[in-house]
Symmetry: C2
Subunit: 366 residues, 2 copies
């Protein structure tokens, strides 16, 4: 009996996992999914990569027994491959194979820690965009003091452009994600800009503002209006919408700032014998905080707007990071996220077509 | 004898200071300039604001005796004023008066902690752009591990747009600032983008890349090419060039991230009696680190590209922050920064005109 059939009979939800392409290699990926398997009895895996490499790794993990089917794929997309190149040579790669399991309906979510650009392009080509979606987006997580501990920002870098309509769709997609991934009933959405005063910002953002506001009721979210960079890790909203260029710069600025502070903190604590003693006493506190801002715990950029959901884990993810990405993938699959998102987008598209088909109105029509 | 004449005979460099508009009021500004006066015998001040308010404040500071001339200006630009509104009603404000001292040549640098948008607009209208400059820029400082402890980013938000030529001028202006403000002989310049791979980024950035590269020799800087958000607080370059929209989002993202970490650190240390004890022992270390990333120490966005230099201090700057801004203003004035910058820009503009006047070349000309 295959793991797949076994999982179906046991009611397990299957996650398709690309075992290759992460900086730490397949052993780390297998260790990560084993952690998830131990914690959650309802997960099963389809694991993609060279069978001769994966089989002994899986055999060593008792929690994976009967819950992890291996699909042989001999090639690996390298981190330095250009997306177009990876696509041309990609049919025998673990990444391609992992997406194939979502494409053919065996799994609804795929997890990979490989090359982001290649994964995005391959996802768009193989899974295709949802009807009505112009630009798919990468939704990333920011540590925050909100009760759910993370805010969602999109686009984190799938596409360097986004017009007003794309930004509106990002708001809908981000809201669906917040609802299904974090259990927020009515997420608060903000549109990233340089200032909250009305005289600031780009013209297309004003247009996006109106579009997002107009879809708030139908999309079942609260629109808080323009927000600033400081609100990405803030508490005024749960979902922040921006184009992929700005989003990617912001994301990496946040990472760089966190790294600088970590380095300076280390230096500060190494400065005198007393401060070294203090650092030993403070270790638990520092670790506790470290957990909150560790990107490997908030692991997983999620590709939205496709026929299927792809969770992109950090290239440098360790077993904990992989396990966090699998957990997110499971929650999205379990809540029927892909289908719900498709329905939301379809409903917004219909609204828009209705509006376009209506005769010019001065508000006199019912 | 006026302070101005006194300063001239004593060889002092005059800084024009807007005493009003900061969140903490004129007493804090006077305290700040007094700190600077005590530290540096070569600084004199022209202080702008309501005479009846400023006179007693200045009289209390012995280091300001004979070194601080007061210029009466009854009105204050408020933080919530729109720039256009501030400009219309602004002739009697301390901000207008402070810029006037630069306009008429009494001082070459002005310091204000008032409303940024109003200060920028008023500066452009009153001081006028340098010949050849299309868009002035705000240069801001990022804490970094570079030897000078800060990187320079521009534009921090003067203008939400910037084309390739503007970005090239930002590179020249940022380089002049790094040389005169931080003593870097041959600053390293990076162009902010979403990735270092050649297939990424906007088309106009590719054009800017070529323009900046072409001016590196004449501008006496090293061009390191595209950099990412994480390099803003990093060590690969000293000057980072970007448009004002992206720059402002990045700046506020950095501030927001630093604030989140500070808050989480406080929480982590308050968690148990042991961690509270550790935090007491660690206090000096934490303070030492806090100083490194405290925006009030890296105080002063600098407006570049005008006939005169304007240092914009944080609205919430305390006396230490004001004093840091004055120190920067003094260094820029002392090195003849405004004049040197103008010469650099003029030289780049001439190069460009020469190139435009040359016949089409296949590299055959000498």
């Amino acid at each position: 009996m295959t793991a797949s059939a076994d999982s179906k009979t046991s009611g397990r939800i299957l996650i398709s996992v690309d075992a290759m392409g992460g900086d730490l290699g397949p052993a780390t990926v297998v260790a990560g999914i084993s952690v998830s398997a131990k914690k959650n009895d309802r997960i099963g895996f389809i694991l993609h990569g060279p069978e001769d490499v994966l089989k002994p790794l899986v055999a060593k993990r008792k929690h994976l027994a009967g819950r992890c089917e291996i699909r042989n794929a001999g090639d690996v997309v390298q981190m330095e491959d250009k997306p177009s190149q990876a696509l041309r040579q990609g049919k025998d790669t673990s990444m391609w194979s992992a997406l194939e399991s979502v494409r053919n309906g065996e799994a609804s979510v795929c997890v990979s820690c490989g090359n982001t650009g290649a994964l995005m392009l391959m996802s768009v080509i193989r899974l295709r965009k949802l009807p009505g979606i112009y630009r798919p987006a990468i939704a990333v997580l920011w540590p925050s003091q909100n009760p759910q501990r993370h805010n969602i920002m999109l686009d984190g870098g799938a596409d360097i452009r986004a017009d007003a309509k794309d930004l509106m769709q990002y708001a809908l997609m981000g809201t669906s994600y917040a609802r299904n991934g974090f259990g927020l009933e009515r997420p608060r959405v903000g549109l990233l800009n340089v200032g909250t005063e009305e005289h600031k910002g780009r013209a297309e953002l004003r247009e996006a503002y109106d579009l997002i506001e107009g879809n708030a009721r139908n999309g079942d979210f609260e629109f808080v209006g323009f927000v600033e960079g400081r609100d990405l890790p803030g508490t005024v909203c749960d979902v922040i919408v921006t184009d992929g260029f700005t989003g990617n710069v912001a994301l990496k600025t946040g990472e760089g700032t966190a790294k600088l502070i970590r380095d300076l903190l280390k230096e500060a604590f190494a400065h005198t014998p007393l401060s070294r003693l203090a650092s030993i006493l403070a270790l638990t506190s520092l670790r506790r905080m470290g957990k909150r801002i560790d990107p490997s715990r908030a692991n997983g950029g999620v590709f939205l707007g496709l026929n299927g959901t792809v969770v992109k884990s950090h290239g440098s993810a360790d077993a904990t990071g992989i396990s966090a990405a699998v957990k997110l993938a499971f929650e999205l699959a379990d809540t029927g996220f892909t289908e719900k998102l498709a329905a939301r987008v379809a409903s917004a598209t219909m609204l828009e077509q209705d509006a376009a088909n209506e005769p010019d109105s001065n508000g006199e029509q019912a």
